[in-house]
Structure formats: C-alpha cells, structure tokens
C-alpha cells in the first residue's frame, strides 16, 4: 500500500510518495486546470460555430467519426485542425513568454523581444513579397532561428546575462523589423495585404500539417522547460547565491532561452507572430496564481485559452457587428481580449496593495 504524504509549507504544498516528491503551488495548479478546461470548452464551441453551425453534441460525436458526413467533414477537416493549432500555438507562445520573462527578469520581455519573431517575420515577408519559392513556415523557422543564434552568440561573453540578452535581442529584432518595413513599403498593395495578414498572426487555413510541428515541439520542449525551470527559483536569489547553491547559472539560462526560442520559432512558423500572447499570458498567470515566480504550466494554459478565445471572437465578432462574413485573423483580436484582462488584474493589484 503506497502512502502519499501532503506536506503543507508556507505558500506551497509538497506531495511525497515512495517514488520521490514534488512541490506544487496549489493556486497555480488550480489556475492551470481551470484555464485548460476553459480552453478546451472554448475550442469545442469554436468548432461548433461558423457559417455552418454544428451543434455541440454533434461536434463531440463528429470527433469520433460518428454522425452525418458533412458534420464530420467540417469538424475533422476544416475546423478541428485549426483549433488544435490554436491551442498548441497558444500554449507554445505562453510557455516561451514565461521562460523569456523569467530569464530576463523583466515583464516587458517576450519572445518577440529576443528577436526570434522579428527574424521569422522578416523571412516570411521576404518570401511573400519577393515571391521566393520557399514554403513560408520553413522560411519563418529559418529566419527565427538565425536571428536567435546571432543573438545568443553575441550575448555570450564569458557568461550569459539576462539583461544583455534582451537588449541585443531588441537591437537585432529592430533591424529585422526594419527589413520587414522596407519590404512592406516596396511591395505591391496585394502583397502588402497578404504580408500584413501573416504578420498579424492567423489561424486561417491552418491544417494538420501545421499542427504536427508544434505538437512535436511542445512534446519535446515542454518537459525540458519544466525540468530546467526548477533552476529559475534558485536563479532568482542572485547569481552568487545561486552558484553557491550549485546552480550552473549560465548553462541554465542558455538552456531556458534555447527552449523559449525553439517554441517561439515553431509557433511563429505555424501561425505567424500572434501578437501579445507571449507577453500577457505569463503576466496573467503570475497574477492569478500569486506564485513567487512566473508559473510555467499556467502560462501555457492561459496562452492556449487566449488564442482560442481570440480566434472565436475574431471569427464571430465582425460578422456580429457588421453582418459581413469577413473573418479577422486571430492576432488582431488577442490584444482586444488580453489587454483588458491584464488591466483588470493590474487595477485589482493596485487597489489591494497599500501605497
């Protein structure tokens, strides 16, 4: 008979069994669970609505191949892959943002700031505007990883400093962005439109082939993030204390950044640089969970929720307002949903704390 011991410590709980023990923050676990469930619910709802409405129970049946043909087709071929991509990409951005903000110790940091998304964007827009015969996702990954490699190489100077990383990332990111601007200005208006749509971040036309790379990346990198993320608690004590406690400070930071870059690059390649997710999801997760550091799993869950919710709003919103069936790209709406949430949390915190 196995004994499971729950040890209540100030601010967190340890679960101890014969196999080992793990420390969890109960609030963060709650936030992650609720966010994940909500994300799935919104996802199902999103699969259900659209020009061709499939009632929710039929959606569930269609997931297993039951029900009438057209429902199954719509669900499985058109909508489900898109929603899955949304969930995965949202989780990837959320997690990448959490890692970047933790390493940089700056709430303004997001994977965009490390230059990855700017590099990916520049590459993708180059393909669109210059008509290069390269599939966009491939170019995006190549661009993102190239810039990230440059940033990492330039940051390493007998050590890996978080703040230095971010500043160099901003510099290279701005350079990449100027390339994108240049291309946008020189392009024909149609190309500029296509490029702008991609730059906004969109789930339109995303299929299983987009979902697979992101799923793979998450499968490989997310556990790595969780394991490496343990060193974040030690790193927060300062470099000296962290080293004294046995942390390999530079390697840990480099590892975390590489994981963040990988996730961000793959997600950007699949859906474009969906604005704001990598920045707001970790902050929302942090404020809801009230953990001492940014909670990784919760950030991923919040990211997934944000993207599918935004996608639902993007698809419905405009048609509800104007009656036209135009669908907006998801990136146009993420901030419309995410920003108010963040602002509300900020107000609550400001009112709660004593000045």
């Amino acid at each position: 008979m196995t004994t499971l011991e729950l040890v209540r410590l100030p601010g967190r709980t340890a679960v101890r069994g014969p196999w080992g023990s793990v420390v969890v923050h109960p609030r963060a676990v709650r936030v992650t669970t609720v966010a994940s469930l909500l994300a799935l619910a919104v996802g199902v709802l999103s699969v259900s609505v659209g020009e061709f409405v499939v009632p929710v129970p039929d959606v569930v049946r269609a997931l297993f191949g039951q029900g009438d043909r057209s429902s199954v087709l719509v669900v499985q071929t058109l909508r489900l892959p898109r929603i899955i991509v949304g969930l995965l990409v949202g989780a990837a951005f959320g997690l990448a943002g959490a890692l970047t903000q933790s390493v940089a110790r700056n709430a303004l940091a997001s994977p965009d700031v490390v230059g990855v998304t700017a590099g990916a964007a520049a590459a993708a827009v180059s393909v669109i505007v210059l008509g290069l015969p390269v599939p966009i996702p491939l170019a995006a990954i190549a661009g993102g990883l190239t810039v990230a490699a440059l940033v990492a190489a330039l940051t390493w100077r007998d050590g890996f400093s978080g703040p230095r990383l971010v500043l160099i990332g901003i510099g290279l990111g701005a350079a990449a962005a100027s390339l994108t601007s240049y291309l946008l200005v020189r392009a024909t208006i149609t190309d500029a439109q296509r490029a702008t749509v991609w730059l906004t971040g969109s789930l339109n036309g995303r299929g299983w082939e987009h979902a697979r790379p992101v799923a793979l990346a998450l499968l490989l990198l997310a556990p790595l993030a969780l394991v490496l993320g343990r060193s974040l608690t030690t790193l927060r004590l300062g470099d000296d204390v962290a080293r004294a406690l046995g942390a390999r400070v530079d390697r840990a930071r480099l590892g975390l950044v590489l994981v963040a870059v990988g996730l961000a690059a793959v997600a950007t390649a699949s859906a474009g640089p969906i604005a704001f997710v990598g920045l707001v999801a970790p902050q929302v997760a942090l404020r809801l969970s009230r953990t001492p550091g940014i909670p990784l799993a919760a950030s991923a869950a919040c990211g997934a929720l944000l993207v599918v919710a935004a996608d639902l709003a993007a698809r419905l919103g405009l048609s509800l307002l104007t009656g036209s069936p135009t669908e907006l790209p998801v990136g146009a709406v993420t901030a419309v949903i995410g920003a108010p949430v963040l602002l509300v949390l900020l107000r609550r915190a400001a009112r709660g704390s004593t000045a």
């Binding site: 709430a107 240049y182 208006i189 405009l318 419309v336």
Partner: protein, 319 residues
C-alpha cells in the same frame, strides 16, 4: 556636441548631389541665388532642422521613460503614444477619409495624447508603488490600440496603403509648417523636462523612497510622463513612429555620462539628433537617387551600435 554639429553639416552637404562643405557653410551664412543655395536652404536645411529637433525630442523622451519606469527596455512609445498615433492616423483615414500629411499629423497628435491619457488613468495616475503598473498598462493599451489599428488596416486596402508609408517614419517631404504647429507642444515638453530632471533621479532610488514621499512623487511622475508624451507626440505627429531612436540613444548616453539625468537628458538629445540625421543622410545616399526612409535606417544603424555597446559593458547598466 561636436558630433551633432558634424552630423548636421553632413546632412546638409550630402544627398543625391554632393556639395562641398565650404560651399555649404558659405551659403548658410548668406543666401545667393545659386542652385547650391536653393538645395541647401530650401530642401536640406528644413529637413536637417526637423531631424535635429525630432531626434533630440525622441532622445530625451526615451531617457525620461527609461528613468520613469526604471526599465532599460522602455521606449518613448511605451505610454501609448505610438499606438495612439497609429490608430489616430488609421481611424481618421478610413472612417473620416482624412488624408495628406497635415491631416495625418493632427490625427496622430490627437490619438497620441488621448492614448497616453488613458494609460495614465489606467495605471492609477502614478500613485502605484512601482513603475511596473505604468509599464504594463502602457504595454496593454498599446497592444489594444495596435489590434484596432490592424483591424482597420486589414479591412480596407487603401487604408493599409496609406498606413504602411506613415508607419515607416520619414523626414522626407514634411511641411515645415507642421513643425511650427507642434513647436509649442515640444517647447512645453522641453520646459517640463528641465523642471523634472531631479524627479527622475529620485525615482531611480527605488520604490520605498517613492512610497515614502507619496503625493509629491505622483506629481513628479506625472510631470515626467507629460513631458515625455508631449515630446514624443510632437515628434511622431510630424515624422511617424521613429521609436527606436528613443530606445537606443539613452543607453549610449548613459555609457558616456552615467545615470545622472542632469547630464543624461541633454546628451540623449544630442545623440538622438545625431543618430537621426546620420540615418537620414545614409538613407539618402545608399540607394541614390532614390531614398531609404529614415525609420528603416535608424534600426540598421542603431542596432549594431547598441549591440557593440552592450557587449563592451561587463554588467549591463540600468538593468
């Protein structure tokens, strides 16, 4: 100082047609009817002056915002100026059909000021314990405005067409009258900047001190924010969102004179002006006889400088 003057001279002398420096100086001092005089005085002088003023304004505003938020990643657009300006331009363009440089400038100005006002209110009017509130409120609202801008731009090809040129940021073809129009704002911003220099140093000392000093600090923060907003809004209204200048230049200035804002602000102004002019000049030269907008070149010039600077420092300053 010398760098700025040099940059100014270069800006005047170089362009799609190169002019010898001696001639340039001569013609500056006394107009004669020659071609050189026309080019220098009518085309390049206003542009150079514009570059000087806008660059200086953005440099100062950037330094102010980095000091206000104690965050080295802050740029002058953080409080919503660039987001508001963009939405202003796009909204009036698509909804009201306002176009042309002057119309855009006014729209940008109004948008910028409204946006910053909203951020200020949302962030608790500077009374919060830490500047993080201000930063996140600014980021959130900027993203929100950006979203709305994107929606409008995606819905209408003409709007996108106009917007993408404005968004790059350029010194070219700006009517000097525009500069005259925003001059009072810039002047007010400058005066406030001088008045609040000490506040910035106090804010740098930390949250506890700020909390202890209570309302005076809230006023101080407000003054700094207002000053930065006026400077940035004026600059952006005329030339578009040239935000990167304001991010990079304070780092350069800090490396030379240290964190004391009394020196940091003026030097940021000088560096900002120099960088902008150099970028503009480069843009005019590199693809002669066409031009590369200054907004594109600033990043290509500024980024390597920033990176080189950051690499040289053993500990990244201000972070």
């Amino acid at each position: 100082m010398a760098i700025t003057v040099a940059a100014a001279l270069v800006s005047l002398a170089v362009g799609s047609r190169s002019l010898p420096t001696a001639e340039v100086v001569r013609v500056l001092l006394e107009a004669d009817g020659s071609d050189t005089s026309a080019i220098v005085r009518e085309l390049r002088l206003p542009r150079t002056v514009l570059g000087l003023i806008v660059g200086a304004a953005l440099g100062v505003a950037g330094a102010q915002l980095q000091g206000l938020t104690r965050n080295p990643l802050a740029d002058p657009g953080l409080l919503g100026v660039s987001g508001g300006a963009a939405l202003g331009v796009v909204a009036t363009g698509s909804v009201l059909g306002v176009g042309g440089a002057t119309g855009q400038a006014w729209a940008a100005l109004v948008g910028a000021l409204l946006a910053t006002g909203a951020v200020w209110l949302l962030a608790g009017q500077g009374r919060g314990r830490s500047p993080l509130d201000l930063v996140l409120a600014g980021v959130a609202l900027t993203a929100l405005l950006g979203s709305l801008t994107t929606v409008l731009v995606l819905l209408d090809a003409d709007t996108l067409d106009e917007y993408r040129f404005w968004a790059v940021g350029s010194l070219a073809g700006r009517d000097p009258a525009l500069l005259g129009g925003v001059a009072p704002l810039l002047l007010l911003g400058l005066v406030l900047a001088v008045a609040t220099v000490r506040t910035l140093d106090v804010l740098a000392l930390g949250d506890d001190l700020a909390a202890g000093l209570g309302s005076r600090v809230a006023w101080g923060r407000g003054g700094v924010a207002l000053s930065a907003t006026l400077l940035t809004a004026g600059a952006v209204a005329v030339c578009g969102p040239l935000i990167f200048v304001g991010l990079v230049v304070p780092h350069l200035a800090r490396a030379v004179v240290g964190p004391a804002h009394l020196w940091l602000l003026p030097l940021s102004a000088l560096f900002g002006a120099s960088l902008l002019l150099l970028a503009d000049t480069l843009g005019r030269v590199v693809v002669r006889p066409a031009e590369l907008q200054v907004g594109i070149v600033t990043a290509l010039v500024g980024a390597p400088v920033l990176i080189a600077l950051v690499r040289r420092q053993r500990r990244v300053v201000g972070a």
